[in-house]
């Protein structure tokens, strides 16, 4: 992808913004295998690793800024933003 023009970057902000505003994060606890990549990459601390049961706990959903990092890095595709 080449460098965006001013107009492209601005209109892209608008599209992204509309999509992101309504997003809510959710975890499928059954699918979680405890690789904790979500905990590793979350910049706002939504996740806590449960080291006993080798799963992750979504403990602070209000902190979520819908950046999408955990969704992309989860190898089990157990996290959804919708």
């Amino acid at each position: 992808m080449s460098e965006p023009t001013l107009w492209e970057s601005l209109s892209e902000h608008l599209v992204l913004a509309r999509r992101l505003r309504g997003l809510e994060i959710s975890l499928d606890p059954e699918a979680c295998k405890g690789t904790w990549q979500c905990y590793e990459v979350c910049p706002v601390g939504c996740w806590t690793p449960d080291r006993v049961h080798r799963v992750v706990v979504l403990h602070d959903i209000d902190q979520c800024i819908a950046c999408g990092a955990c969704v992309l890095q989860c190898p089990e595709e157990a996290i959804e933003l919708s």
Binding site: L6, E40, P43, G45, C67, L72
Partner: protein, 541 residues
């Protein structure tokens, strides 16, 4: 720094010593004394490159050292010989008229315990500086060192600016007199490192522009100095006029394309080897410079700059410009597997929203480790064997960063708003400019404590504060007529909404970047209507 006049003095050997002492404000004599008293041991074998009129050679000979002085100028050496004969040191001092570049051929390897050189290297072109230093390395006996005093470009940008301003006219005058000049050494550590020396700075004078270094030969440096063929170059933290201007531009206009870019590829920082970590980053100039500033001197590492379209890693990853493919391409094109023995990449944590770590692991077999969110934590992160604390993971938005981001936002939007105002409504320029700046910075300061989850919601309390301020101000200091106050209220409401809503796009802890355009447009239209209809309805117009 007035040593630029040296070139002129060199044409007058008889006046040289007196002149050079005046030009260096007497500091050169102190450098000579320090060298002679501390390092010229009895019976040691010393080579002085560029001995000039022999004043340092004589001082060292008096301490019992055997000195060979070389200089390119026979006139200088004649003067030096007269001095040595006058002091009856002839059995300890010998002079040879050769150019500095020939010392490696003229003398036997390992024949000196100490090599000294004052105010010579700044007269040599860069390639010759390197060549002479390498020749010196061969001439030193085991345990031998070099003492090098010269004119250096100071390291801090402020000192550098002053230095340049003062030096420029001197260079001009010297050039007029002699058609030549001297070039102070900049980035001496690079030069010393490249030629296989570890520098220790012993003395500095005149704001860092005159300094004495002791150089220790290192065995490793000769090999380490060579970069792999696929590397683009070395990165080191610099602060000079160019970086200062780049920072200033970035402070106000960093969101305006085209973004200043760094050439993608593999770079070395410090002296990395085959076990050194590989840190991946994007190719936004400010990103790379801040990364280098954070780790230069603290770690030896490879920096793999991937093409992120000149955008910072978080935004580039979010926007689809910084992806796993870009990282894979950078790993492949720099032949990284031939440069290091391990297969581990450290990626910035904040690109995890767009760079698919599993794809890199799967497709090229390199391990992906998510580094800290901020570059300043990298040295500790690496020292702790790539273990992150929660504090390294979490993004904060402290007051300093908020102020910076307000400035970035204003740099662009102030242009958008204030330039038309200055052209079409000149009378309103200062009230609007001061209100916009005041509200924006005030909002930046108090933002975390204002109720509301996003910028648009926080604009409500901000508007309340602004209107309360207006009310208090008019009551206490400047009672104004109702229509006038009405205009102010409408204006402040608009600017409050604008300031708070626009900063959202710069805030790392709010979702939905710049989600507010539509709302802002609607609020602006509503305020316009009120501004137009209000006075009509109230019968003021």
């Amino acid at each position: 720094m007035a040593t630029v006049f040296m070139k002129w003095l060199e044409t007058e050997p008889a006046d040289y010593d007196r002149g050079i002492q005046v030009l260096t404000l007497g500091r050169l004599r102190r450098v000579h004394q320090a060298i002679a008293e501390r390092y010229a041991q009895s019976e040691s074998r010393i080579l002085e490159i560029g001995c000039g009129t022999g004043s340092l050679a004589a001082m060292m000979a008096r301490k019992g050292a055997h000195v060979i002085g070389v200089d390119a100028s026979q006139a200088m050496l004649d003067q030096a010989k007269r001095r040595i004969e006058g002091e009856q040191l002839g059995d300890r001092v010998e002079f040879v008229q050769i150019d500095a570049s020939l010392i490696g051929e003229r003398f036997d390897p390992g024949s000196f315990d100490l090599i000294v050189s004052t105010l010579v290297f700044s007269e040599l072109p860069p390639d010759e500086q390197e060549f002479v230093l390498q020749a010196c390395a061969g001439l030193l006996a085991p345990g031998g060192t070099i003492l090098l005093a010269d004119e250096f470009v100071p390291a801090g940008w402020f000192q550098r600016l002053w230095y340049t301003l003062i030096r420029l006219p001197l260079v001009f005058v010297t050039w007029i007199l002699t058609r030549t000049t001297t070039a102070a050494l900049s980035h001496p550590d690079d030069l010393f490192g490249r030629t296989g020396f570890r520098p220790e700075r012993l003395l500095t004078f005149l704001g860092g522009s005159l300094a004495l270094y002791r150089l220790f030969p290192t065995d490793a440096a000769a090999g380490e100095g060579v970069l792999p063929a696929t590397a683009v170059g070395r990165l080191s933290h610099k602060s000079n006029l160019r970086t200062w201007l780049a920072d200033l531009w970035a402070l106000f206009f960093r969101i305006i394309p085209p973004y200043p870019k760094v050439r993608p590829g593999l770079y070395a920082i410090g002296s990395p080897d085959r076990a050194s970590p590989v840190l991946v980053t994007g190719n936004f100039d400010l990103t790379v410079r801040r990364l280098v500033q954070a780790i230069d001197g603290a770690v030896d590492a490879w920096i793999l700059v991937a093409d992120s379209a000149g955008i910072n890693v978080w935004c580039a990853a979010g926007g689809g410009y910084f992806t796993a493919e870009k990282v894979i391409a950078a790993v492949k094109s720099s032949h990284l597997d031939q440069v290091v023995d391990h297969h581990a990449l450290v990626l910035p944590q904040l690109c995890a929203n767009g760079v698919d770590g599993w794809r890199i692991r799967r497709e090229i077999g390199w391990g992906v480790h998510w580094g800290p969110a901020k570059a300043v934590d990298i040295p500790v992160y690496l020292a702790n064997h790539r273990k992150k604390t929660d504090a390294m993971r979490w993004v904060r938005f402290p007051a300093k960063d908020r102020m910076e981001m307000v400035t970035v936002t204003l740099g662009f939007y102030a242009l958008l708003i204030l330039v038309p105002v200055a052209i079409f409504w000149r009378g309103l320029f200062w009230p609007i400019a001061i209100s916009l700046l005041g509200l924006s910075y005030f909002y930046g300061l108090v933002m975390p404590w204002l109720p509301g989850r996003d910028g648009l919601a926080k604009s409500v309390p901000l508007t309340v504060i602004a209107l309360t301020g207006l009310l208090v101000y008019t009551r206490l200091f400047d009672p104004m007529a109702a229509p006038h106050m009405f205009n102010w209220a409408v204006g402040l409401t608009g600017l409050s909404v604008f300031s708070a809503a626009e900063l959202q796009g710069m805030s790392p802890r709010m979702r939905g970047e710049q989600a507010n355009w539509g709302w802002e447009a609607m609020i602006a239209a509503g305020l316009g209507l009120i501004y137009w209809l209000g006075p009509l309805a109230l019968g003021w117009r």
